[in-house]
Every structure is written in C-alpha cells, then in structure tokens.
C-alpha cells in the first residue's frame, strides 16, 4: 500500500536525525508534564472545578493529549499546509495522480510526537484507575469514542486551519489560537466558562463532544440528558464534514487564484 511506503520513508528520514527526534520528543513530553502539573496545582487550591475532581481533569488531559498528539503525528501535512503552499510542495502534490488528502496524510509524519502519545495514554490509565466509575459496556464504548471523537474533531480543526491558510498564506497565530486554545480549554469542564464561549465550543467547534458531555455520561452528572451525552462523541465526529467541504472549496479557489 502506498501509505505504508510513506510511513517507511518518513521513518527512514527521521532515523537520519535520531538525536534531533529524541530531543524533540523529550522537550514536548516535558511541556505536557508541565501542563499536567498545572492541572494538579489548580486542584490543590480548589478541590473541584465545576463538577470535576482532579482525576476527571486528568482523564481529559489524557484524552486531549493522546488524540492531539496522534493527529499532530499523522496529519502533520495539514498542520504545515501554509509551508506546503509557500515552498511549492502543494503544486507538486497536485501533479500526482493520487487524491490530495491521501497525499497530505503521507506528506509529513512526525515521529517525535510518539512519546507524547504514550504519555497521554499513561495519564489516562492513571486517571481511570483512580476515578469512581461504575463501568459497564456502554461506558467503555463511550470512553473509546471520546478518543476517536477527539482525533476526528482535532483533525477537522487542522483541515479547517489549512483551508483558512489558503486565503492568508501566512501561518497566522489565529489558527494556533483555534487549535491550541481548544486544547487547553478541554482540560476543564466546558460549562465553567462564559455562556457564549460554552456555546461556541459545543455547537461550532464541538470540543464539548469529546470533553464535558461524554465525561458527564461516565460520571452520571450534569443536567443534560445522559443519552444525549452518550452519543455526543459520535455527533461531534460530523464536524469533520463541513471542514472537508470548506477545505476542498478553498483548494478549488487556490487553483483559481494561485496565490
């Protein structure tokens, strides 16, 4: 399969720079550990944030970190889309007889994110062990769907930002705010923020669909019907559709303007 070849090539490339990959992984892991410490310190001071205790927030950090790092690893091509435009790689991809999304997924694979993926999973496991949840099969399905939904929504965000960069060309901090901002936001229950912010991050950028809502289902808390909380991760996945449509539309526009 073509993707396997891409994978092998990227592995070979990053093995050429072993030290670089290792140091990058460690630096990024340290940042994550710092973020976890931040969460811990906050809960030292306030026992609970909204309906969540420390381990609930820890699980969320794990979910966010795992899915975020997974996508940064495998969908890096979208993350670096402005560069692909600038250095002409996009033109290169357009003269290949392969779907552009397939090529973008193969364009860059960032192995230095692996350590963070492992950390994310570790943190999740620690959190799950310490949480008081009556596990049943439905809850396990919802738990797994949180990771899936997280991946897909973050992927959607990256596609959206890549689409925006076609108009702006520059890698605007604005797109960073969307992706990284949503990430930080997701560490805590979404309903502690201002109402308009909660709404934006539920209905427009559906962060709540892999954060507050499914966790409410697991904890059986909150005022929103539990069944709705349970299927929310699946609803959130739909977010990727408009993102893809927007991206494809923008790419057509790129072919029209050639900016």
């Amino acid at each position: 399969m073509l993707y396997n070849k891409y994978l092998k090539m990227h592995l070979k490339s990053s093995l050429e720079y072993k030290a670089n990959t290792i140091f990058l992984s460690m630096a990024q892991a340290l940042i994550f550990i710092g973020e976890i410490l931040g969460v811990w310190l906050l809960f030292l001071k306030f026992e609970a944030v909204g309906e969540w205790g420390f381990y609930d927030s820890l699980l969320m950090s794990g979910v966010v970190m795992t899915s975020f790092s997974l996508m940064e690893c495998f969908a890096r091509g979208y993350d670096e889309f402005p560069n692909l435009i600038k250095n002409g790689t996009l033109d290169r991809l357009l003269v290949r007889p392969v779907n552009i999304h397939y090529q973008l997924l193969g364009a860059k694979i960032e192995f230095s994110k692996f350590l963070r993926i492992i950390l994310g999973i570790t943190v999740s496991i620690i959190a799950i062990i310490n949480m008081n949840i009556n596990w049943n099969i439905l809850k396990i399905i919802v738990l797994i769907s949180m990771y899936l939904s997280g991946c897909i929504i973050i992927f959607g965000l990256m596609i959206l930002c890549a689409g925006i960069s076609i108009y702006t060309i520059e890698n605007l901090e604005f797109t960073n705010i969307i992706t990284n901002g949503s990430k930080e936001l997701a560490y805590y229950p979404i309903n502690i923020y201002k109402k308009w912010l909660t709404r934006i991050f539920t209905f427009i950028i559906p962060i709540a669909c892999f954060n507050y809502l499914p966790l409410s289902f697991l904890l059986e808390t909150g005022s929103i019907p539990l069944w709705l909380c349970g299927i929310s991760p699946f609803l959130g996945m739909l977010f990727i559709i408009p993102c893809l449509i927007f991206f494809n539309f923008s790419l057509k526009k790129y072919q029209g303007t050639g900016t």
């Binding site: 070849k5 490339s13 050429e16 033109d91 392969v98 072919q255 303007t257 050639g258």
Partner: protein, 329 residues
C-alpha cells in the same frame, strides 16, 4: 502529426489586494480590501504537435509559469479552453496527470534524506507502475543518465547537476507522454548542461515524448527546440521556428577592428560605429544592408591602418534581447 496540446483563447486574471500605507492601514486593509486585477494571460492561442520539443520563452513575469501551471492542471484559467492529450487538465486532474511529467528546476520532488532509489520506489507506487515496466524504464534512464552510483545516496549528498539528473529520471519513470521542464538547466555546469540536453533529445526520440521547456538559456533553445513560443505581458508574440527568427537577423553583423595606432574620430560610410576606444573600433551593419567582407576591408584599409578584425553575427541572447526590445517588453 496529431495535435496533443491545444490552447484556445485562454485568459487568466489574478486579483491582487492593493495595500494602502499608513499607520492604521493594516486595519482598513483587513476590512475593505481593494483589488487590482492583473491580466497574466491575455487570449493565448497555440497548439503543439505530438513529439515536438517546444521552447516557451519570455522575460520574467511574462506569464510562463502561469501557462505551465495551467497546462499541468494546477491552475484553472479564468476563461478559454484547453485540451491536452484529450483531457481538460483542471477538470480531470487525477486522470490527466498520469500522462505528464513535471520538473520544476528549483524545487525537488525527491526526498531529501533518503536514498534516491527509495524516492523512485515511492513514485512507482504513486503512478502504479508494474514491476517489469519499472525495471525496464529505470534501466533505460540509468544508461542514458549514468545514475548507477547516485541512486543509493541520499539526495542531500548530491551536487546540483546530479540532483537534476535524478529529478529528470524521477519525472519520467511513468513514461509520460508530455514532459514539462521549468528551467531545467538553471545553475548547471557546462558538462551537465550538455548531458541534460542530450538526454532530453534522446527521450524525445525514443519515446516520442512531447517536451515543453521554459528557459532563459538561449543555447538550450537553440540546441533542443524545433519551435518556440515567445510570450510577453501575457500575450503570444511569436510562434514558430527559431531558425526563422535567426534568419531575420542574419544580415546583422558586428565587426571589430584593431588599428595600428589610435585614431581620433573614426568614421566609415555605410556602417554604424558602436564603440571606439583608443585603437579598437566596433562597427555594425546598417539595417537591411548585406555585409560584404571584401568591400568592407577595402573601404576601411583605405582610411586606416588595421592590424586585425573579426566579424560576428548576433548571438542568440542578443537576438532575444532585440526581440524583447522590439516588442517593448
């Protein structure tokens, strides 16, 4: 011969935001943008036959790369029709690009850090080339370009010339019917340049590949192409054989004369004095007069004592510069 590329009334406009300057201009720029419309291509018509090698030339910013990008399906034109190899490039992009190869002179399609052969293997998968065909094609390219020792080395270790050879091979692995070369000889040393030229000719001969190349190196044009298309300010100015153009300027000669001693006020009837420094003077034939060596020598030796002289035709670069000037580019 059948036509493989047909451009009919292709126009391409770009909207470029006009920027105001001033302290708060970035804000007003953001909210109400004014656009300037630039006509990159203005009613371009041409056709290219299968098996042709065509030089697409013009000064910087004339619209060369825009045309190449339209031909390779990257850009859509504002209006007009274009049929290449039976496809409309930007409409059936995926189908169409199977049969073209593109080399952008200054950008690589190969991977920087892995051996070249690995990049080739990836291209093999991208173009779904069968094992047998791949082996055979690679063998041909290998022989023609002497790639053998280069293939096992990562691209970053290769010289510019070696890289270009690998680029060329990479863009031909799928035996495209049409090859676009965007400044393929830029920055190459003389030996590699010749090798690249020979290779392009060879490919054209053995596979009957139609080749379109843009270049600023007029020697490329002279050595390779049987047809040139000259474009300037988005319009086609000339479309035909290069020999024709050369013929137009064939009568123009530059004659340099060295005198035994410095003269003042050198002058010769029927010739234009271009430069005069101490004991060396350069003349040019006047428009539309034929040059006769004998009569020139007679006339000049009557007036001055000469040691040496040389007669030169316009170089291809000078011809092109002349053309640009004529068309006010």
């Amino acid at each position: 011969m059948s036509k493989i590329i047909e451009f009919t009334n292709i126009c391409k406009q770009f909207k470029i935001p006009e920027k105001k300057n001033g302290k708060w201009s970035f804000l007003s720029n953001f909210f109400k943008r004014k656009y300037k419309i630039i006509q990159a291509l203005d009613n371009i018509n041409f056709s290219i036959n299968e098996g042709d090698i065509v030089g697409y030339i013009g000064p910087n910013g004339a619209g060369k790369s825009t045309t190449i990008k339209i031909m390779s399906g990257i850009l859509t034109p504002t209006s007009g029709e274009c049929i290449i190899n039976g496809y409309i490039p930007w409409k059936s992009r995926k189908e169409y690009v199977k049969n073209i190869g593109v080399v952008f002179g200054q950008r690589s399609q190969l991977w920087w850090d892995v051996p070249v052969i690995d990049s080739f293997e990836l291209l093999k998968d991208i173009y779904k080339i069968s094992d047998e065909e791949y082996k055979e094609t690679l063998n041909i390219l290998n022989k023609a370009l002497n790639l053998e020792e280069l293939l096992s080395r990562p691209l970053r270790q290769l010289s510019l010339g070696q890289k270009m050879k690998c680029e060329l091979a990479g863009s031909l692995l799928h035996k495209p019917k049409i090859l676009f070369l965007d400044e393929p000889t830029i920055g190459l040393d003389a030996v590699t340049k010749l090798a690249v030229r020979d290779f392009v000719k060879y490919i054209n001969k053995v596979w009957n590949t139609t080749i379109i190349l843009t270049t600023h190196d007029m020697n490329d044009i002279e050595a390779l192409t049987n047809k040139i298309i000259l474009i300037g300010k988005g319009k086609i100015l000339y479309n035909g054989s290069f020999d024709n153009i050369k013929h137009q300027y064939a009568n123009e000669k530059i004659i340099q004369v060295e005198f035994t001693k410095p003269y003042e006020n050198v002058y010769l009837d029927g010739y234009e004095l271009i430069s005069h420094e101490k004991n060396v003077a350069t003349f040019k034939t006047l428009n539309n007069t034929e040059f006769h060596t004998k009569s020139f020598l007679n006339e000049i030796s009557q007036k001055y004592d000469i040691v040496d002289f040389s007669i030169n035709s316009l170089s291809v670069d000078e011809i092109l510069a002349r053309l640009y000037k004529e068309y006010k580019l």
